[in-house]
Each structure stands twice: as C-alpha cells, then as structure tokens.
Amino acid sequence: MSLATPLALIGRTVLRVLAAIGRVAIFAGAAISHLVRPPFYAREFLNALLQIGWLSLPVVGLTAVFTGGALALQIYSGGARFNAEAVVPQIVAIGMVRELGPVLVGLMIAARVTSSIAAEIATMKVTEQIDALVTLSTHPMKYLVAPRLLAALIVVPLLVAVGDVIGIFGGYFVATGSLGFNPAAYLENTVDFLEPLDIVSSLVKGCAFGGIAALMGCYYGMQSGRGAQGVGRATKGSVEAAAVLILAANFLLTGVFFSI
C-alpha cells in the first residue's frame, strides 16, 4: 500500500462517476432527439400512458392520503406547543403541494414504473429482442424509450396534481374528523393560502421526476448485462439512481423556486 493508493481510488471513482454522467447525458439527448422526430409509435405511447399514469393511481392515492393525514396530526401536535394549532390547513397544503406530493409520487413512480421499465427492457436485451427490433428496421430508442419518456413527462405531473389534492384531503379528513376543525373554514384556508407558484412548482417537479424515472428505467434496461443477474442488477440500479436523482432534483428545484 503506497500513499497514492487512496488518491488513485478517489481518482478512479470520480472518473467513473463522470463517465456515467456522460453516458446518461448522451442517452438522454438521443432519447429526446428521437422523441421529436417521426415516426411516432402511438400504440406504444398510449400503452405507456396507461401503465405509468392510470395504473399508478391507486398507489399514488394511498400514499398521498396517509401522508396528508399524518402530516395534519404532526402539525397539530407540534403547533400545540406554541399555540399554533390553527395553522394545520396552511401547512398541510404547503407541505403536500410544494414537497411531499411531488417527492412521494416521484419515489412511488421510481419504485413502480422505473423498476418495471428496466426489468422489461433488460429482459428484451437479454433475449435478443432489442437486436431483433433493429433487424426489423425499428430503432429501439424510438420504439421503446421515446414513448415511455413522453408518457412520463405528461402523466407524472398529473399524478402529482392528483396526489396533492388527495393529500390535502387526507389532512382535511383527519383535521375535521378528530382535531375539531370546521370543514368549510379548513378548505377556505387551504385555497386562500396556496399561491400559483406553489402549484406551478409542484407540476414542474412532477415533470422532472417523471422524466428521471422513465429515463433511468430505459437507460439501465438498455445497459443490462447478461442473464437473470444482469436483469436484476439493471432493475436495482435503475431504482436506486432514479430515487437519488429525484431527491437531488427536488432539492435543486426547491432552491430555484423558493430561495428568495
């Protein structure tokens, strides 16, 4: 062990990370260029909308309603320490719309959609279906990646909007049901307190997280190694990368929108 060994290790790691960022960036660029040039595969796109959007609604709804409810309870008990119980509707609204709605929906999409995209594409790669696509004059980026990416960019913000609303109602039910809030006043406070920027930031985050989730699934699927182990690694890697990138992007976007 020489003195240089740890430095070499750091250097190698940095190089590897930079190379990975480069590869992902090239992949994303190729995906977007295929997204805007014909031919378009409408059937694949509609199927992706169904898989990513519609079929994610139950898990998004359940996540949001429980989170909104728990948030109301926490704010109430925390606020009680300095006689600020009344802020429950405002803080639930802000917390859900600005942060928890987009982040939790993003993470749920990473768990549900990124993993399934990665496993599906990786299996296609391992069984030579990707090569078969090429020999049938069909570009895999256009046929597999572009429809999923477009669907995620469109539908995840909608899921976030649904999650925001359901989360607010989760808080509403807890607050009016067991914390003694007046239903009409609760909703009025919520609506009055939210600003357009809150909603815009929520939707922009949804769009970004949807893009990250779909891209990571496709990227790891396409890069899959051989066999069952390759598929397993691709799936695991895609979810890890999507989750971490979503949280990092959330931090950046929050900074952009709310650091005055």
């Binding site: 069984t127 279906q129 090569d131 090429v134 020999t135 069909t138």
Partner: protein, 258 residues
Amino acid sequence: MTDTPTPLPPMIELRHVAKSFGTKPVLRDVHMSIPRGTSMVIIGGSGTGKSVTLKCVLGLIEPDAGQIFVDGHDMHEGDRDAFLARFGMLFQGGALFDSLPVWQNVAFRLLRGALRRPKREAREIAIEKLRRVGLTPDVADAFPAELSGGMQKRVGLARAIAADPEIIFFDEPTTGLDPIMAGVINDLIREIVTEMGATAMTITHDMSSVRAIADDVAMLHDGVIKWTGPVAEMDRAADPYLQQFIHGRAEGPIEAVR
C-alpha cells in the same frame, strides 16, 4: 467498381474483419465471400466469434477493422433502413416480442415503417407465412409464451421470411430442439432458401444442420477462418481443426478446455 469483368459481386463479402472486446480479440482477420443465392454455414466452437461475425454484417456490432460488402456495396453506404430491409434473421432463442401476439410478431415489419401495409393484408401475409412453416392459423392470436420451443422457432422463422428478404441469417437454428424438430427446422430452412432464391448465412455447431443446410462451410477458430469450401469436400479435407470439430473428438489441435 473494379475493372474485373465479374457480372455479379458476392452477396456478402468480409475483408480483414477484426473485433476485440476489451483486450480479448474475438475476430482477428476474417475473410469470407458468400455468392448470391447460396447457403453458407459457419461452424466453430462456442465463443469463437460466430455470432459476432453475423452481428457485424447486420451492423449490430461495429468491427474494429476491415470492410463488409453487401451486394458489392460497403454496408455503411446508403440508407440503413433500406439496408436492413434486405435482411431476415432467425434468432437463437426466437427473440419474439412477448408483448405482441404471434401474427403481429410475424408481420412486425409489415405493420410499420417503409414496408407498412393495411392491417388486414399484413395479417393475411402473416398467416400465410405461418402456414409456410407448418403452423395453423389458430396460433396467430396466441402469445409467444404460450408456444413450445419448436413452435417459437417456427414463428421466428416465419418472421424472418415475412418481408421476402434477399438475405436470411440463422443463428443456431436447432439449438435447444429435439432431434426430430431439429430435422424439421433444417428441412424448412433448406426449402425456404431454395424456393425464395435467398442468400443464407447460418451459424451452428450442429453437424446434422450443416449437412442439411449448407452449400458451403466455413470453420471459424481462433479469430480466423481455418477452412472453407463446399460441404461435399468437408469430409475429405485434411485440416486437423475441421476434422476434430466435425467428428467431435476431444483430442486434437483445438483445446477442449477453453
């Protein structure tokens, strides 16, 4: 064009093709020429680069060195879609799209892109091709996962010939099949190639396939073509590598442990 008065260039020609993966050279210097309308079978042990050779011709793998000509033109010339439209390929595991029913797999190329035609017509062609490979129309709406290995292989074959390609590649067409089904697939390949007048390139290590399908044989070993010639001369050839391979001997110049 050269000034030699050859009226028709070979359908596929490889010159000095080399490819390494990492530090491991797989193809060193491969020359091969497949005349129009003939059936070339490439034999060789596992991991000798047979699949790599085939994928280089299709452009799925970019060789490090050398040139590949298809019908006298460098494969990088011209439109890639038009280039690929001349090929059909039967993959080793079938590589059927498991999200699509059988007929849409067969008609995949006919349902989109340059060769697109109405759905009804594409389906009719698919059913006709399925019949050609000995499958009844009732499998058309099944999904690939519902079929046996032999049937999947036949569907793969139907897909490979769906757009009447000029060149067909077969990647280990009999691997994983019982001997009778292997015989059926071999006969089908021979018939189809003859009747379509297509140029065929097959990779296999199944000697019964070689004898059934091949006009010419090339033996790939250690990154080069060790022997090539008509199938009839294969048994008389003196090449020790070839003899060891076709007789399946453990002893010989090819190391059994690789």
